[in-house]
Protein backbone atom coordinates (compact mmCIF):
# COMPACT_ATOMS: atom_id res chain seq x y z
CA UNK A 1 0.00 0.00 0.00
CA UNK A 2 2.75 2.38 1.02
CA UNK A 3 4.66 1.34 -2.08
CA UNK A 4 1.62 2.16 -4.18
CA UNK A 5 1.27 5.58 -2.59
CA UNK A 6 4.91 6.38 -3.09
CA UNK A 7 4.54 5.22 -6.69
CA UNK A 8 1.66 7.63 -7.08
CA UNK A 9 3.76 10.36 -5.54
CA UNK A 10 6.57 9.71 -7.96
CA UNK A 11 4.11 9.94 -10.84
CA UNK A 12 3.03 13.28 -9.47
CA UNK A 13 6.57 14.61 -9.47
CA UNK A 14 6.90 13.60 -13.12
CA UNK A 15 4.02 15.85 -14.14
CA UNK A 16 4.82 18.27 -16.88
CA UNK A 17 5.39 21.86 -15.99
CA UNK A 18 6.51 25.08 -17.60
CA UNK A 19 7.03 24.94 -21.33
CA UNK A 20 6.27 21.22 -21.62
CA UNK A 21 2.93 21.70 -19.85
CA UNK A 22 2.09 24.57 -22.17
CA UNK A 23 2.97 22.49 -25.22
CA UNK A 24 0.87 19.59 -23.97
CA UNK A 25 -2.04 21.97 -23.30
CA UNK A 26 -1.78 23.46 -26.77
CA UNK A 27 -1.85 19.98 -28.36
CA UNK A 28 -4.70 18.89 -26.06
CA UNK A 29 -6.90 21.87 -26.95
CA UNK A 30 -6.06 21.72 -30.64
CA UNK A 31 -6.79 17.97 -30.75
CA UNK A 32 -10.61 18.07 -30.48
CA UNK A 33 -10.79 20.69 -33.20
CA UNK A 34 -8.83 18.60 -35.66
CA UNK A 35 -10.22 15.22 -34.66
CA UNK A 36 -13.79 16.58 -34.40
CA UNK A 37 -13.67 17.41 -38.06
CA UNK A 38 -12.69 13.82 -38.88
CA UNK A 39 -15.56 12.40 -36.84
CA UNK A 40 -18.23 14.67 -38.30
CA UNK A 41 -17.64 14.84 -42.02
CA UNK A 42 -20.78 16.93 -42.48
CA UNK A 43 -18.66 20.09 -42.07
CA UNK A 44 -17.25 19.54 -45.56
CA UNK A 45 -20.65 20.18 -47.09
CA UNK A 46 -21.67 23.00 -44.75
CA UNK A 47 -18.30 24.73 -44.43
CA UNK A 48 -16.90 24.34 -47.93
CA UNK A 49 -19.70 23.75 -50.39
CA UNK A 50 -22.24 26.23 -49.03
CA UNK A 51 -19.77 29.14 -48.56
CA UNK A 52 -18.50 28.39 -52.07
CA UNK A 53 -22.00 29.00 -53.41
CA UNK A 54 -22.24 32.26 -51.45
CA UNK A 55 -18.92 33.40 -52.92
CA UNK A 56 -20.18 32.46 -56.37
CA UNK A 57 -23.16 34.78 -55.90
CA UNK A 58 -20.82 37.74 -55.55
CA UNK A 59 -18.88 36.58 -58.62
CA UNK A 60 -22.10 36.61 -60.65
CA UNK A 61 -22.99 40.07 -59.34
CA UNK A 62 -19.75 41.32 -60.87
CA UNK A 63 -20.54 39.44 -64.08
CA UNK A 64 -24.05 40.95 -64.15
CA UNK A 65 -22.60 44.46 -64.09
CA UNK A 66 -19.74 43.66 -66.51
CA UNK A 67 -16.91 44.12 -64.04
CA UNK A 68 -13.30 43.52 -65.17
CA UNK A 69 -12.18 39.88 -64.71
CA UNK A 70 -9.69 40.64 -61.91
CA UNK A 71 -12.61 41.49 -59.63
CA UNK A 72 -13.73 37.86 -59.90
CA UNK A 73 -10.35 36.85 -58.50
CA UNK A 74 -10.71 39.44 -55.73
CA UNK A 75 -14.00 37.83 -54.69
CA UNK A 76 -12.58 34.29 -54.69
CA UNK A 77 -9.58 35.27 -52.56
CA UNK A 78 -11.79 37.37 -50.24
CA UNK A 79 -14.32 34.55 -49.99
CA UNK A 80 -11.61 32.09 -48.97
CA UNK A 81 -10.37 34.45 -46.28
CA UNK A 82 -13.88 34.85 -44.80
CA UNK A 83 -13.36 31.34 -43.39
CA UNK A 84 -10.58 32.69 -41.15
CA UNK A 85 -12.65 35.64 -39.97
CA UNK A 86 -15.60 33.40 -39.11
CA UNK A 87 -13.28 31.02 -37.30
CA UNK A 88 -11.75 33.82 -35.22
CA UNK A 89 -15.14 35.29 -34.49
CA UNK A 90 -17.03 32.15 -33.54
CA UNK A 91 -14.37 29.66 -32.54
CA UNK A 92 -11.98 32.03 -30.79
CA UNK A 93 -13.70 35.17 -29.53
CA UNK A 94 -17.03 33.79 -28.49
CA UNK A 95 -15.68 30.32 -27.70
CA UNK A 96 -14.88 31.22 -24.06
CA UNK A 97 -18.47 32.38 -23.63
CA UNK A 98 -19.64 29.05 -25.05
CA UNK A 99 -17.20 27.18 -22.79
CA UNK A 100 -18.56 29.14 -19.83
CA UNK A 101 -22.10 28.15 -20.71
CA UNK A 102 -21.03 24.50 -21.10
CA UNK A 103 -19.19 24.50 -17.76
CA UNK A 104 -15.74 23.93 -19.24
CA UNK A 105 -14.35 27.36 -18.44
CA UNK A 106 -14.18 26.72 -14.70
CA UNK A 107 -12.29 23.48 -15.45
CA UNK A 108 -9.79 25.37 -17.61
CA UNK A 109 -9.15 27.86 -14.82
CA UNK A 110 -8.83 25.12 -12.19
CA UNK A 111 -6.36 23.10 -14.26
CA UNK A 112 -2.65 23.76 -13.71
CA UNK A 113 -2.09 25.01 -17.26
CA UNK A 114 -2.12 28.60 -18.47
CA UNK A 115 -5.16 30.01 -20.23
CA UNK A 116 -2.81 31.44 -22.85
CA UNK A 117 -1.86 27.87 -23.83
CA UNK A 118 -5.53 26.93 -24.09
CA UNK A 119 -6.20 29.89 -26.36
CA UNK A 120 -3.14 29.02 -28.46
CA UNK A 121 -4.40 25.45 -28.78
CA UNK A 122 -7.79 26.72 -29.92
CA UNK A 123 -6.07 29.05 -32.38
CA UNK A 124 -3.75 26.42 -33.86
CA UNK A 125 -6.46 23.74 -34.13
CA UNK A 126 -8.89 26.22 -35.63
CA UNK A 127 -6.30 27.65 -37.99
CA UNK A 128 -5.35 24.20 -39.33
CA UNK A 129 -8.93 23.23 -40.05
CA UNK A 130 -9.82 26.64 -41.43
CA UNK A 131 -6.78 26.60 -43.70
CA UNK A 132 -8.19 23.40 -45.22
CA UNK A 133 -11.58 25.02 -45.77
CA UNK A 134 -10.06 28.21 -47.20
CA UNK A 135 -7.82 26.20 -49.53
CA UNK A 136 -10.80 24.20 -50.76
CA UNK A 137 -12.78 27.38 -51.47
CA UNK A 138 -9.78 28.97 -53.19
CA UNK A 139 -9.02 25.96 -55.38
CA UNK A 140 -12.64 25.24 -56.34
CA UNK A 141 -13.40 28.93 -56.91
CA UNK A 142 -10.30 29.44 -59.03
CA UNK A 143 -11.06 26.40 -61.18
CA UNK A 144 -14.74 27.24 -61.59
CA UNK A 145 -14.20 30.86 -62.56
CA UNK A 146 -10.87 30.52 -64.38
CA UNK A 147 -9.06 32.86 -62.04
CA UNK A 148 -5.49 33.42 -63.16
CA UNK A 149 -2.76 34.20 -60.67
CA UNK A 150 0.61 35.76 -61.31
CA UNK A 151 2.60 35.67 -58.11
CA UNK A 152 5.04 38.58 -57.89
CA UNK A 153 6.98 37.22 -54.90
CA UNK A 154 6.39 33.90 -53.16
CA UNK A 155 8.42 34.98 -50.12
CA UNK A 156 6.40 38.11 -49.64
CA UNK A 157 3.18 36.17 -50.14
CA UNK A 158 4.23 33.63 -47.52
CA UNK A 159 5.25 36.42 -45.13
CA UNK A 160 1.98 38.28 -45.63
CA UNK A 161 -0.11 35.17 -45.04
CA UNK A 162 1.77 34.07 -41.93
CA UNK A 163 1.80 37.56 -40.41
CA UNK A 164 -1.89 37.98 -41.17
CA UNK A 165 -2.63 34.71 -39.38
CA UNK A 166 -0.49 35.57 -36.34
CA UNK A 167 -2.02 39.04 -36.05
CA UNK A 168 -5.55 37.79 -36.70
CA UNK A 169 -5.44 34.96 -34.19
CA UNK A 170 -3.62 37.25 -31.74
CA UNK A 171 -6.58 39.59 -32.08
CA UNK A 172 -8.90 36.61 -31.62
CA UNK A 173 -7.11 35.68 -28.39
CA UNK A 174 -7.36 39.26 -27.20
CA UNK A 175 -11.06 39.47 -27.87
CA UNK A 176 -11.60 36.00 -26.37
CA UNK A 177 -10.21 37.30 -23.09
CA UNK A 178 -12.56 40.29 -23.27
CA UNK A 179 -15.43 37.89 -23.87
CA UNK A 180 -14.61 36.32 -20.48
CA UNK A 181 -16.43 39.25 -18.93
CA UNK A 182 -19.43 39.01 -21.19
CA UNK A 183 -22.46 36.80 -21.04
CA UNK A 184 -25.24 36.44 -23.61
CA UNK A 185 -24.24 39.72 -25.24
CA UNK A 186 -21.01 38.00 -26.39
CA UNK A 187 -23.06 35.97 -28.81
CA UNK A 188 -24.78 38.95 -30.33
CA UNK A 189 -21.62 41.05 -30.48
CA UNK A 190 -19.88 38.31 -32.44
CA UNK A 191 -22.88 38.15 -34.73
CA UNK A 192 -22.71 41.90 -35.19
CA UNK A 193 -19.04 41.79 -36.18
CA UNK A 194 -19.64 39.62 -39.23
CA UNK A 195 -21.05 41.62 -42.15
CA UNK A 196 -19.71 45.05 -41.05
CA UNK A 197 -16.19 43.58 -41.13
CA UNK A 198 -16.81 42.03 -44.56
CA UNK A 199 -17.68 45.55 -45.63
CA UNK A 200 -14.90 47.64 -44.10
CA UNK A 201 -12.15 45.07 -44.67
CA UNK A 202 -12.91 44.85 -48.38
CA UNK A 203 -13.53 41.12 -48.62
CA UNK A 204 -15.23 41.51 -52.00
CA UNK A 205 -13.67 44.67 -53.40
CA UNK A 206 -10.39 46.60 -53.08
CA UNK A 207 -10.17 48.54 -49.82
CA UNK A 208 -8.82 51.47 -51.79
CA UNK A 209 -12.41 52.18 -52.85
CA UNK A 210 -12.90 53.77 -49.44
CA UNK A 211 -11.38 57.07 -48.36
CA UNK A 212 -7.88 56.92 -46.86
CA UNK A 213 -9.02 57.31 -43.26
CA UNK A 214 -11.74 54.67 -43.45
CA UNK A 215 -9.24 52.25 -45.00
CA UNK A 216 -6.64 53.20 -42.39
CA UNK A 217 -9.14 52.58 -39.58
CA UNK A 218 -10.14 49.24 -41.10
CA UNK A 219 -6.44 48.28 -41.21
CA UNK A 220 -6.60 47.59 -37.48
CA UNK A 221 -8.24 44.33 -38.52
CA UNK A 222 -5.30 42.30 -39.85
CA UNK A 223 -7.31 40.75 -42.68
CA UNK A 224 -7.76 44.17 -44.30
CA UNK A 225 -4.08 44.69 -45.04
CA UNK A 226 -3.45 40.96 -45.41
CA UNK A 227 -6.06 40.68 -48.16
CA UNK A 228 -4.91 43.88 -49.84
CA UNK A 229 -1.28 42.73 -49.88
CA UNK A 230 -2.18 39.24 -51.11
CA UNK A 231 -4.24 40.67 -53.95
CA UNK A 232 -1.37 42.94 -54.92
CA UNK A 233 0.99 39.97 -54.96
CA UNK A 234 -1.15 37.49 -56.90
CA UNK A 235 -2.98 39.61 -59.48
CA UNK A 236 -1.24 41.63 -62.21
CA UNK A 237 -3.55 44.63 -61.69
CA UNK A 238 -3.55 44.18 -57.90
CA UNK A 239 -0.79 46.71 -57.30
CA UNK A 240 -2.70 49.44 -59.11
CA UNK A 241 -5.72 48.83 -56.84
CA UNK A 242 -3.69 48.41 -53.63
CA UNK A 243 -4.11 50.62 -50.60
CA UNK A 244 -0.44 50.84 -49.47
CA UNK A 245 2.70 49.24 -50.88
CA UNK A 246 3.26 45.59 -49.94
CA UNK A 247 6.39 46.45 -47.96
CA UNK A 248 4.52 48.96 -45.78
CA UNK A 249 1.66 46.52 -45.30
CA UNK A 250 4.07 43.78 -44.17
CA UNK A 251 5.60 46.17 -41.64
CA UNK A 252 2.19 47.13 -40.26
CA UNK A 253 1.14 43.47 -40.07
CA UNK A 254 4.33 42.69 -38.16
CA UNK A 255 3.55 45.49 -35.74
CA UNK A 256 -0.06 44.31 -35.34
CA UNK A 257 1.15 40.75 -34.68
CA UNK A 258 3.41 41.89 -31.85
CA UNK A 259 0.77 44.21 -30.35
CA UNK A 260 -2.04 41.66 -30.49
CA UNK A 261 -0.08 38.70 -29.11
CA UNK A 262 1.45 40.71 -26.25
CA UNK A 263 -1.88 42.47 -25.71
CA UNK A 264 -3.65 39.10 -25.50
CA UNK A 265 -1.23 37.92 -22.80
CA UNK A 266 -1.70 40.98 -20.62
CA UNK A 267 -5.41 41.32 -21.22
CA UNK A 268 -6.01 37.66 -20.47
CA UNK A 269 -4.11 37.84 -17.19
CA UNK A 270 -5.93 41.01 -16.18
CA UNK A 271 -9.41 39.97 -17.22
CA UNK A 272 -9.05 36.50 -15.75
CA UNK A 273 -8.33 38.07 -12.37
CA UNK A 274 -11.15 40.56 -12.81
CA UNK A 275 -13.68 37.92 -13.78
CA UNK A 276 -12.64 35.72 -10.86
CA UNK A 277 -12.99 38.69 -8.49
CA UNK A 278 -16.41 39.59 -9.87
CA UNK A 279 -17.56 35.98 -9.95
CA UNK A 280 -18.28 35.97 -13.68
CA UNK A 281 -16.53 32.76 -14.62
CA UNK A 282 -19.40 30.51 -13.72
CA UNK A 283 -22.32 32.89 -14.17
CA UNK A 284 -24.90 31.97 -16.72
CA UNK A 285 -27.35 34.76 -17.39
CA UNK A 286 -29.93 33.08 -19.52
Amino acid sequence: MIDNLSALGSVETQKAGGLLLSLKTIVARAYPRVIGAQREKSWMFFDVFLPMLAVSAYVFVYRAIDAPEEYIGFVVVGGAMTAFWLNVLWNMSSQLYWEKEQGNLALYIMAPNSMMAILLGMAIGGMLMTALRATAILVIGSLLFNVEYQVASFWQLFAVFMLTMVALYGMGMMSASMFLLLSREAWHLANLAQEPIYLVSGFYFPIRSFSFWIAAGASLIPLTLGLDAMRQLVFPSGAALGFLTVGVEILILLLLSVIFVIGARFLLAHLEKLSIREGRLTESRR
Binding site: E40, A54, A64, S183, P196, F203, F205
Partner: protein, 296 residues
Amino acid sequence: MSSPGIASTGERGSGLGFWRSFRMAAWLGWQIESNWTDPFLFAIYSFVKPISTAAILVVMYGIITQGDFESPIFTYMYLGNAFYIYVGAVMAGVSWAVIDDREHYKTLKYMYVAPINIPMYLFGRGVAKFVVGSISVFITIVFGLLFLHLRIELSAINWPLFFLALTIGVIMLAMMGLILAGVTLLIAHHVWFLGEAVAGALYLFSGAIFPLEVLPPAIRWIGYIIPITYWLELIRRSLVGEVAEAFPTLQGLSSQQILGILVALTIIFTILAVVVFRWAEKRAKERGLIDMVTNY
Protein backbone atom coordinates in the same frame (compact mmCIF):
# COMPACT_ATOMS: atom_id res chain seq x y z
CA MET B 1 -58.61 19.69 -14.67
CA SER B 2 -55.72 21.15 -16.64
CA SER B 3 -53.89 24.33 -15.68
CA PRO B 4 -54.27 27.36 -17.92
CA GLY B 5 -51.48 27.58 -20.51
CA ILE B 6 -50.67 23.89 -20.28
CA ALA B 7 -51.99 21.72 -23.04
CA SER B 8 -53.52 18.43 -21.99
CA THR B 9 -52.53 15.28 -23.84
CA GLY B 10 -55.67 15.53 -25.91
CA GLU B 11 -54.99 19.13 -26.84
CA ARG B 12 -51.40 18.41 -27.92
CA GLY B 13 -52.33 17.54 -31.45
CA SER B 14 -55.32 19.87 -31.67
CA GLY B 15 -55.51 23.38 -33.11
CA LEU B 16 -55.54 24.82 -29.60
CA GLY B 17 -52.45 22.82 -28.67
CA PHE B 18 -50.67 23.99 -31.82
CA TRP B 19 -51.51 27.59 -31.07
CA ARG B 20 -50.32 27.34 -27.46
CA SER B 21 -47.03 25.74 -28.51
CA PHE B 22 -46.52 28.44 -31.11
CA ARG B 23 -47.49 31.37 -28.87
CA MET B 24 -45.31 30.38 -25.92
CA ALA B 25 -42.35 29.60 -28.17
CA ALA B 26 -42.72 32.97 -29.89
CA TRP B 27 -42.67 34.71 -26.52
CA LEU B 28 -39.64 32.68 -25.41
CA GLY B 29 -37.80 33.35 -28.68
CA TRP B 30 -38.42 37.07 -28.40
CA GLN B 31 -37.06 37.15 -24.85
CA ILE B 32 -33.93 35.25 -25.89
CA GLU B 33 -33.43 37.46 -28.91
CA SER B 34 -34.02 40.84 -27.36
CA ASN B 35 -33.55 40.99 -23.60
CA TRP B 36 -29.77 40.63 -23.58
CA THR B 37 -29.33 44.38 -23.80
CA ASP B 38 -31.09 47.73 -23.58
CA PRO B 39 -33.46 48.79 -26.38
CA PHE B 40 -31.02 51.36 -27.78
CA LEU B 41 -28.20 48.87 -28.32
CA PHE B 42 -30.72 46.37 -29.63
CA ALA B 43 -31.91 48.93 -32.19
CA ILE B 44 -28.32 49.60 -33.32
CA TYR B 45 -27.70 45.87 -33.53
CA SER B 46 -30.82 45.45 -35.64
CA PHE B 47 -29.85 47.96 -38.31
CA VAL B 48 -26.03 47.77 -38.52
CA LYS B 49 -26.03 44.21 -39.82
CA PRO B 50 -28.52 44.63 -42.71
CA ILE B 51 -27.15 48.00 -43.71
CA SER B 52 -23.65 46.51 -43.90
CA THR B 53 -24.85 43.63 -46.06
CA ALA B 54 -26.59 46.04 -48.41
CA ALA B 55 -23.57 48.35 -48.38
CA ILE B 56 -21.27 45.56 -49.62
CA LEU B 57 -23.41 45.28 -52.75
CA VAL B 58 -23.77 49.04 -53.07
CA VAL B 59 -19.98 49.53 -52.94
CA MET B 60 -19.37 46.67 -55.41
CA TYR B 61 -21.97 48.15 -57.77
CA GLY B 62 -20.76 51.72 -57.24
CA ILE B 63 -17.12 50.88 -58.03
CA ILE B 64 -17.91 49.21 -61.33
CA THR B 65 -20.69 51.50 -62.60
CA GLN B 66 -19.19 54.75 -61.28
CA GLY B 67 -22.25 55.24 -59.06
CA ASP B 68 -25.02 54.77 -61.64
CA PHE B 69 -27.74 54.11 -59.04
CA GLU B 70 -30.52 55.18 -61.44
CA SER B 71 -30.12 51.98 -63.45
CA PRO B 72 -32.98 49.41 -63.15
CA ILE B 73 -30.47 46.65 -62.35
CA PHE B 74 -29.57 48.48 -59.15
CA THR B 75 -33.20 48.60 -57.98
CA TYR B 76 -33.57 44.92 -58.94
CA MET B 77 -30.46 44.00 -56.96
CA TYR B 78 -31.15 46.21 -53.96
CA LEU B 79 -34.75 45.06 -53.43
CA GLY B 80 -33.82 41.41 -53.93
CA ASN B 81 -31.05 41.74 -51.37
CA ALA B 82 -33.28 43.60 -48.89
CA PHE B 83 -36.07 41.00 -48.94
CA TYR B 84 -33.59 38.17 -48.95
CA ILE B 85 -32.94 39.11 -45.30
CA TYR B 86 -36.15 37.18 -44.57
CA VAL B 87 -34.68 34.01 -46.06
CA GLY B 88 -31.77 33.90 -43.61
CA ALA B 89 -33.83 35.17 -40.69
CA VAL B 90 -36.78 32.77 -40.94
CA MET B 91 -34.82 29.67 -41.94
CA ALA B 92 -32.13 30.33 -39.31
CA GLY B 93 -34.75 31.24 -36.70
CA VAL B 94 -36.50 27.90 -37.05
CA SER B 95 -33.44 25.67 -37.41
CA TRP B 96 -31.14 27.40 -34.91
CA ALA B 97 -33.62 26.69 -32.10
CA VAL B 98 -32.61 23.01 -32.31
CA ILE B 99 -28.94 23.68 -31.50
CA ASP B 100 -29.77 26.45 -29.04
CA ASP B 101 -32.11 24.20 -27.06
CA ARG B 102 -30.10 21.01 -27.47
CA GLU B 103 -26.58 22.25 -26.76
CA HIS B 104 -26.83 25.69 -25.17
CA TYR B 105 -29.81 25.55 -22.86
CA LYS B 106 -29.92 21.74 -22.91
CA THR B 107 -33.71 21.84 -22.86
CA LEU B 108 -34.58 20.06 -26.09
CA LYS B 109 -35.11 16.75 -24.28
CA TYR B 110 -37.56 18.50 -21.93
CA MET B 111 -39.40 19.94 -24.93
CA TYR B 112 -39.82 16.40 -26.20
CA VAL B 113 -41.35 15.20 -22.94
CA ALA B 114 -43.56 18.30 -22.59
CA PRO B 115 -47.10 18.32 -24.03
CA ILE B 116 -46.21 20.56 -26.96
CA ASN B 117 -46.07 20.15 -30.70
CA ILE B 118 -42.38 20.33 -31.69
CA PRO B 119 -42.71 21.76 -35.24
CA MET B 120 -45.09 24.46 -33.93
CA TYR B 121 -42.65 25.17 -31.12
CA LEU B 122 -39.83 25.59 -33.67
CA PHE B 123 -41.97 27.88 -35.83
CA GLY B 124 -42.70 29.95 -32.74
CA ARG B 125 -38.99 30.24 -31.96
CA GLY B 126 -38.52 31.65 -35.45
CA VAL B 127 -40.98 34.49 -34.88
CA ALA B 128 -38.43 36.69 -33.08
CA LYS B 129 -36.00 36.43 -35.99
CA PHE B 130 -38.86 37.23 -38.35
CA VAL B 131 -39.68 40.39 -36.38
CA VAL B 132 -36.03 41.51 -36.28
CA GLY B 133 -35.74 40.60 -39.98
CA SER B 134 -38.79 42.76 -40.77
CA ILE B 135 -37.20 45.74 -39.02
CA SER B 136 -34.00 45.12 -40.98
CA VAL B 137 -35.85 44.94 -44.31
CA PHE B 138 -37.71 48.16 -43.51
CA ILE B 139 -34.53 50.01 -42.51
CA THR B 140 -32.65 48.77 -45.59
CA ILE B 141 -35.40 50.00 -47.91
CA VAL B 142 -35.71 53.36 -46.16
CA PHE B 143 -31.93 53.74 -46.43
CA GLY B 144 -32.14 52.99 -50.16
CA LEU B 145 -34.96 55.49 -50.67
CA LEU B 146 -33.22 58.26 -48.73
CA PHE B 147 -29.65 57.90 -49.93
CA LEU B 148 -29.53 55.76 -53.06
CA HIS B 149 -32.46 57.03 -55.17
CA LEU B 150 -34.21 53.68 -55.08
CA ARG B 151 -37.01 53.83 -57.67
CA ILE B 152 -40.04 53.07 -55.52
CA GLU B 153 -43.20 55.19 -55.75
CA LEU B 154 -45.46 54.62 -52.77
CA SER B 155 -48.59 55.46 -54.78
CA ALA B 156 -47.74 52.83 -57.41
CA ILE B 157 -47.25 49.95 -55.02
CA ASN B 158 -49.62 47.01 -55.39
CA TRP B 159 -50.23 46.54 -51.66
CA PRO B 160 -52.59 43.51 -51.83
CA LEU B 161 -50.12 41.61 -54.01
CA PHE B 162 -47.26 42.66 -51.73
CA PHE B 163 -48.87 41.43 -48.50
CA LEU B 164 -50.18 38.25 -50.12
CA ALA B 165 -46.76 37.41 -51.55
CA LEU B 166 -45.06 38.27 -48.27
CA THR B 167 -47.38 36.02 -46.27
CA ILE B 168 -47.03 33.04 -48.59
CA GLY B 169 -43.30 33.62 -48.72
CA VAL B 170 -42.90 33.59 -44.95
CA ILE B 171 -44.87 30.30 -44.72
CA MET B 172 -42.69 28.82 -47.46
CA LEU B 173 -39.50 29.94 -45.67
CA ALA B 174 -40.71 28.53 -42.36
CA MET B 175 -41.23 25.17 -44.09
CA MET B 176 -37.71 25.30 -45.50
CA GLY B 177 -36.55 26.14 -41.98
CA LEU B 178 -38.32 23.02 -40.68
CA ILE B 179 -36.45 20.88 -43.23
CA LEU B 180 -33.19 22.38 -41.94
CA ALA B 181 -34.29 21.84 -38.34
CA GLY B 182 -34.69 18.16 -39.18
CA VAL B 183 -31.21 18.05 -40.68
CA THR B 184 -29.84 19.92 -37.65
CA LEU B 185 -31.24 17.24 -35.36
CA LEU B 186 -28.85 14.79 -37.01
CA ILE B 187 -25.64 16.83 -37.15
CA ALA B 188 -23.11 18.29 -34.72
CA HIS B 189 -22.79 22.02 -34.29
CA HIS B 190 -19.75 22.53 -36.50
CA VAL B 191 -21.96 24.86 -38.39
CA TRP B 192 -23.13 27.65 -36.15
CA PHE B 193 -25.82 28.98 -38.41
CA LEU B 194 -27.01 26.31 -40.78
CA GLY B 195 -29.99 28.43 -41.83
CA GLU B 196 -27.79 31.35 -42.77
CA ALA B 197 -25.32 29.07 -44.56
CA VAL B 198 -28.08 27.55 -46.67
CA ALA B 199 -29.56 30.99 -47.27
CA GLY B 200 -26.13 32.15 -48.44
CA ALA B 201 -26.00 29.26 -50.87
CA LEU B 202 -29.53 29.83 -52.22
CA TYR B 203 -28.59 33.48 -52.76
CA LEU B 204 -26.82 32.22 -55.87
CA PHE B 205 -29.74 30.39 -57.45
CA SER B 206 -32.74 32.55 -56.54
CA GLY B 207 -32.01 35.54 -58.74
CA ALA B 208 -31.96 37.71 -55.62
CA ILE B 209 -29.16 40.00 -56.74
CA PHE B 210 -28.86 39.32 -60.44
CA PRO B 211 -31.21 37.96 -63.13
CA LEU B 212 -31.01 34.17 -63.55
CA GLU B 213 -29.78 34.67 -67.14
CA VAL B 214 -26.37 35.53 -65.70
CA LEU B 215 -26.00 31.97 -64.41
CA PRO B 216 -24.60 29.29 -66.75
CA PRO B 217 -27.48 27.31 -68.37
CA ALA B 218 -26.30 24.10 -66.66
CA ILE B 219 -27.25 25.41 -63.20
CA ARG B 220 -29.89 27.99 -64.13
CA TRP B 221 -32.71 25.41 -63.84
CA ILE B 222 -32.13 25.21 -60.06
CA GLY B 223 -33.41 28.77 -59.81
CA TYR B 224 -36.66 27.73 -61.50
CA ILE B 225 -37.44 24.97 -59.00
CA ILE B 226 -36.88 26.94 -55.81
CA PRO B 227 -39.85 28.97 -54.60
CA ILE B 228 -37.68 31.91 -53.43
CA THR B 229 -37.16 32.93 -57.07
CA TYR B 230 -40.92 33.37 -57.63
CA TRP B 231 -41.43 34.97 -54.25
CA LEU B 232 -38.78 37.65 -54.86
CA GLU B 233 -40.16 38.29 -58.35
CA LEU B 234 -43.65 38.88 -56.93
CA ILE B 235 -42.30 41.18 -54.24
CA ARG B 236 -40.42 43.19 -56.86
CA ARG B 237 -43.43 43.34 -59.18
CA SER B 238 -45.65 44.56 -56.36
CA LEU B 239 -43.19 47.31 -55.40
CA VAL B 240 -41.71 48.38 -58.74
CA GLY B 241 -43.77 46.70 -61.44
CA GLU B 242 -42.15 48.08 -64.59
CA VAL B 243 -38.58 47.68 -63.29
CA ALA B 244 -39.10 44.04 -62.35
CA GLU B 245 -40.89 43.12 -65.57
CA ALA B 246 -38.04 44.57 -67.64
CA PHE B 247 -35.80 41.62 -66.72
CA PRO B 248 -36.14 38.51 -68.83
CA THR B 249 -36.14 35.80 -66.11
CA LEU B 250 -39.91 35.47 -65.63
CA GLN B 251 -40.99 37.99 -68.26
CA GLY B 252 -43.31 35.52 -69.99
CA LEU B 253 -45.39 34.91 -66.86
CA SER B 254 -48.13 37.11 -65.42
CA SER B 255 -48.19 37.94 -61.71
CA GLN B 256 -51.15 35.57 -61.25
CA GLN B 257 -49.25 32.72 -62.86
CA ILE B 258 -46.21 33.39 -60.66
CA LEU B 259 -48.48 33.48 -57.62
CA GLY B 260 -49.93 30.12 -58.64
CA ILE B 261 -46.46 28.61 -58.99
CA LEU B 262 -45.44 30.03 -55.60
CA VAL B 263 -48.50 28.53 -53.90
CA ALA B 264 -47.92 25.15 -55.56
CA LEU B 265 -44.24 25.09 -54.56
CA THR B 266 -45.12 26.15 -51.01
CA ILE B 267 -47.53 23.20 -50.74
CA ILE B 268 -44.85 20.85 -52.07
CA PHE B 269 -42.29 22.20 -49.59
CA THR B 270 -44.80 21.89 -46.76
CA ILE B 271 -45.32 18.20 -47.50
CA LEU B 272 -41.57 17.74 -47.88
CA ALA B 273 -40.90 19.54 -44.58
CA VAL B 274 -43.33 17.32 -42.66
CA VAL B 275 -41.88 14.13 -44.17
CA VAL B 276 -38.22 15.15 -43.70
CA PHE B 277 -38.72 16.43 -40.16
CA ARG B 278 -40.59 13.30 -39.06
CA TRP B 279 -37.92 11.07 -40.57
CA ALA B 280 -35.06 13.07 -39.03
CA GLU B 281 -36.79 13.16 -35.65
CA LYS B 282 -37.22 9.38 -35.72
CA ARG B 283 -33.56 8.88 -36.66
CA ALA B 284 -32.41 11.31 -33.96
CA LYS B 285 -34.42 9.42 -31.33
CA GLU B 286 -33.09 6.06 -32.52
CA ARG B 287 -29.51 7.29 -32.42
CA GLY B 288 -29.87 9.15 -29.11
CA LEU B 289 -29.14 12.56 -30.63
CA ILE B 290 -31.91 14.54 -28.97
CA ASP B 291 -29.61 15.56 -26.10
CA MET B 292 -26.31 15.43 -28.02
CA VAL B 293 -23.70 17.99 -26.97
CA THR B 294 -20.77 18.69 -29.28
CA ASN B 295 -18.06 21.13 -28.36
CA TYR B 296 -15.07 21.32 -30.62
